[in-house]
Symmetry: C2
Subunit: 466 residues, 2 copies
C-alpha cells in the first residue's frame, strides 16, 4: 500500500497557547449529563434516551445527525465541517453493567470528583472520550469563526459493549458516507508520566455462555455419590480449555494465528512494563507465567486469550448448604488475534468439549463476534496522530501494535480501508468495566488539548495524491 500526506499550511500556533478552560468546563458538564443516563446495553437500559442526548449535543455544534436502528440501540452518523481532509471518528454511548454496584464508592451513574479523579460508569469507556472530543470540536469551531476547517464524520453506536452486532453491516451499507482519510478510534490512554498511549489494533472477541444441567431441581448433596455435579462439569470444561500458563489447549485454536513480524516484535522493546501500574492500581497478585515486561507486552499485543467473566451455580450465601445444584453456567470470552475466525473458534470449542466427553456442556453464543484488526504504524494518518500526540503532550507516545481489548475495528480496516488510531483519555487505574471506573481530571484536559491539536493538524494536511 502507498501512503502519501503533505502539509498544506504552515504550523499553527503552539497548541499550548490556546486557553481551553471554558471548553473543558462545558465538556465536564456534558459528561455529567451523559453519565447520568444508565445506558447499559447488556440490559437494554436507557439506550434511545442516551442517543437523544448525544444527538442534541452534536446538533448544537453544527452536526447533521442521521439515526438508524441497530439490533439493540440506535446508531448515529453525524457530519459537520468542510475541507481537504475527512476524519472519521468512532465512539459509543453504551456502557457496561455497573454490577457489583455495592463496590462503588460513589453512585455509579453520578459523575463524582474525588482526589483528582472523575468517577462514574462510562466516564472513561466511552462517554468521557466522546465528550472530550466534542469539546475539542467546539474549541476548533470557535477558533475558526464557527466553522470546522475539515470534514468530520462521526459514527456513534450504542451496542459496543455487547459486541457491536449491527456495526459491520452498517459500515458496509454506508461505506460511501464513511469514506475518510483515517479513523480516530474510541479509546486510548495516558501513562502515569503523561505519555500518550496509542493502539493501532484491536483483538477480536467471542463471548459465550457454557451451561450445564443435571436435573430439574436441586438435590440433597448426599446424592453426589450417584448424580454428577454441574459445577464439577463446568470446572472440568474450563480447566480443559487452557493450561496454567494461560495457553489455550483447544486443538486447532492457534492454527490461524498470524505470527507477529520483526517490526511488530521490535515495537515491543519500546513499550513500558505494564506490570507495575497493574500491581499498584489493582493490587494484582502475580502475572501469568511470571512474564517479564517484554513477554507481558507480547501477550497483550499478540497473544489470544481465554478469560472467564463469571461462573455461578448453587449456594453462595453465608455458611454452607449441602445441596447438589440442578445447574450452573459460566460466561467466557476469547480474545482473538489476526487471522483467527470467531465462528471457527466456536466450532473448535464444541469439537473439543465433545472430544473431552463434555457433551452435556451447552455452548450459547452471547453476542456477535468480532475479528481482530491492525493498522500500519507507517500510514501517514497514523503518523499525523502521533505527531499531534507529541505536540500536545510534549512527550513521546507509547505505540502498541494492538491493544489487549476488542472492538469492531475490523470492518473499518477491511471494508472501508481506513487506518485506525486509538488515542484517548483512559488511565491504567481507570477500572474500566469494573466498580469505580474513573479518569484523571488532568487527562480530560489533556484529551481536549490533544483533540484540538489533532484536528488543527489534520485540517492543514492533505492525504490526497498530489
Amino acid at each position: 500500500m502507498l501512503y502519501t500526506a503533505r502539509m498544506t499550511a504552515p504550523d499553527a500556533p503552539a497548541p499550548h497557547a490556546q486557553d481551553l478552560a471554558p471548553y473543558v468546563r462545558q465538556g465536564r458538564a456534558d459528561l455529567a449529563a451523559l453519565v447520568a443516563l444508565e445506558s447499559v446495553s447488556a440490559q437494554g437500559r436507557m439506550l434511545p434516551e442516551t442517543a437523544d442526548a448525544v444527538t442534541a449535543l452534536l446538533e448544537a455544534e453544527g452536526f447533521t445527525v442521521r439515526r438508524s436502528p441497530g439490533q439493540v440501540a440506535p446508531i448515529l452518523l453525524a457530519e459537520a465541517g468542510e475541507g481537504d481532509t475527512t476524519l472519521l471518528i468512532y465512539n459509543h454511548y453504551d456502557v457496561q453493567p455497573e454490577t457489583p454496584a455495592e463496590l462503588w464508592d460513589s453512585p455509579p451513574f453520578t459523575l463524582t470528583e474525588r482526589d483528582g479523579r472523575l468517577y462514574g460508569r462510562g466516564v472513561s469507556d466511552d462517554k468521557g472520550e466522546l465528550v472530550s472530543r466534542l469539546a475539542a470540536v467546539r474549541a476548533v469551531r470557535a477558533a475558526h469563526g464557527g466553522t470546522l476547517p475539515l470534514r468530520v464524520r462521526w459514527l456513534i453506536e450504542g451496542e459496543e459493549e455487547v459486541g457491536s452486532p449491527s456495526i459491520a453491516a452498517f459500515v458496509e451499507a454506508h461505506a460511501a458516507d464513511l469514506q475518510a482519510d483515517g479513523c480516530w478510534w474510541e479509546f486510548g490512554s495516558i501513562s502515569e508520566e503523561g505519555r500518550p498511549v496509542v493502539s493501532l489494533g484491536l483483538k477480536g472477541i467471542v463471548c459465550l455462555e457454557l451451561r450445564c444441567r443435571v436435573s430439574d431441581s436441586d438435590l440433597h448433596s448426599s446424592l453426589g455419590a450417584v448424580v454428577d455435579n454441574p459445577l464439577y462439569r463446568l470446572s472440568r470444561a474450563i480447566a480443559s480449555m487452557r493450561d496454567d500458563a494461560g495457553r489455550v489447549t483447544i486443538p486447532g485454536f492457534y492454527d490461524a494465528v498470524r505470527a507477529p513480524g520483526p517490526v511488530d516484535l521490535d515495537a515491543l522493546a519500546s513499550l513500558p512494563d505494564p506490570r507495575g501500574p497493574l500491581a499498584g492500581s489493582y493490587g494484582v497478585r502475580g502475572f501469568l507465567g511470571d512474564a517479564d515486561a517484554r513477554e507481558a507486552n507480547r501477550r497483550t499485543n499478540f497473544e489470544p486469550a481465554l478469560n472467564v467473566n463469571g461462573l455461578h451455580g448453587g449456594y453462595g450465601d453465608a455458611g454452607s448448604k449441602t445441596v447438589l445444584p440442578a445447574s450452573g453456567f459460566a460466561k467466557i470470552d476469547f480474545r482473538l488475534v489476526p487471522d483467527q475466525d470467531p465462528a471457527e473458534i466456536v466450532r473448535l470449542l464444541r469439537a473439543h468439549l465433545d472430544a473431552q466427553g463434555l457433551h452435556d456442556i451447552e455452548v450459547v453464543e452471547l453476542e456477535s463476534h468480532e475479528h481482530a484488526a491492525r493498522s500500519d504504524v507507517a500510514h501517514p494518518f497514523v503518523q499525523a496522530a502521533l505527531a499531534a500526540a507529541r505536540d500536545s503532550s510534549l512527550q513521546e507516545p507509547v505505540v502498541h501494535p494492538s491493544a489487549g481489548g476488542s472492538g469492531p475495528m475490523h470492518p473499518f480496516v477491511q471494508h472501508l480501508g481506513v487506518a485506525c488510531v486509538a488515542m484517548g483519555i483512559g488511565n491504567v487505574g481507570g477500572r474500566v468495566h469494573a466498580p469505580n471506573e474513573n479518569i484523571r481530571v488532568q487527562d480530560f484536559e489533556r484529551g481536549v488539548r490533544f483533540g484540538v491539536t489533532f484536528l488543527e493538524r489534520l485540517a492543514r494536511t492533505s492525504f490526497r495524491c498530489p
Copy 2:
C-alpha cells in the same frame, strides 16, 4: 458384642385398630407452627424462638426439658416416662436456607397442602419427623392413662444443618443422662410403594470453602492475557479433585476407607433401584458412570464422594460483561465413610492443592466435621425397630447399611455405644435442602402409626440380660 432382648408382655392389639386421626390432626397443627419459625442455622435466624416453641410442645406432653447453650443454638434434652426400656430419640429443629426462594411454589415458611403433599422448609428435615414422633408419644400416653410406659430421652439440637458443632462434646458431657437401649435417629423415608426405608448408618462430612483472589478489584477482561483468572484457578482445583466417574483423585483419600464386608455387600442385593424415582421426581439426566442398581446402591451406602454445593464469581446477570473478576469461591462437601478422619481429609486436600501448584487456593473450614458411623443389623434394638416397621406398614422394610447423608451419629455409636436406627417420614421426591421441600400427607399418618407401634413394642421388650 452380645445382644439380648426378650418380650416381657404378649403382643398388644394390632396397631391398625387404634384411631390415630386426632393425633395426626394435632401433629399437623404443631408442624404448621414450627414451619412458620425460620430457624435457619447457617444464618442464625430464629433459633432461640424455635427452641422455645419445641420446649413448650414437649412440656405439654409431660417432658422435663433441660436447655443447654450450643455454639449456634440451644440444645434441648427432654425426658419423660418410666419402664424397663429407655429409648433415646435424636431430632433437630434447625433447617437449611430456603434459597433460591424464587423457586418455591408456595411460601417456604408456610405449611401448604397441595396435591396430597405438605410443603414447607423443614416439613421433612426435620420438623415433620419431630412432630410426628411427638404425636405418637401423645397417642401412647393417652392409651396408657396419661403416662408413658417406657422412658424416653429426647435430644433435640438446632445446629444439625451446620454440622452439629456442639453435639459431640454435649454427648460426652451428658453420657449418663443419654444412656439408652437404642437411639431412634432423626430421619427416614417411605418408598413409593409404602415400604419403610431404614438406614443403620450415616456418612461423615467435611464442609469447606475454596477461595481465590488475583487482585483487589475487578479488571477489564483484556488483561486476561497477562493476569490469571480466579475462576479458572477454582475450576482447575475442582477438576483436579475428582474424575469423571466421581472417584476422588486426592492422593491418600481412600487410604483409611473400611471396605464393606460380605454381609454389607449382600445387603445391597435387596435394595431397590434408586435411579427410577430420582429420574421421575427430579428429572435427573443421568447417573455417574452409568451405574446399575447395585452399583448405585453401593456408591450411596459405601463410597465417599466430593460434591460442589456452590461456585460463584464475576458477572452473572443477563448478557455478557467482559470482566476479569478479582475473586471467586466454591463451597464443597466431602461425604466420608468409616474410618476416614475429617481432619486428615482437610490435610490431604491442602497437600494435593499444593502439589498441583494451586497454592493460591485458600481452604476455609466452614463448620465442624463429622465422622461416619454404622450400626449392626443384628442388634435387637434394630430388630425391634424393623419389626415395628413391618407391623405398622404391613410391608417388608428396605434396610440400608448406611444412608448417603450425614449427621452426628458417630458420638452416639462410639461414645454412648447405642445402636441407631433412622426410620421416618421422608420420600424420594421430598426435595430436602431444596425448594419445595415436602412430605406426603399419607406418610405423616404412617409416621405417627409407626411411632405408636414402635413405642408400644419397646415398652413390652427388655434389652437387659436376664
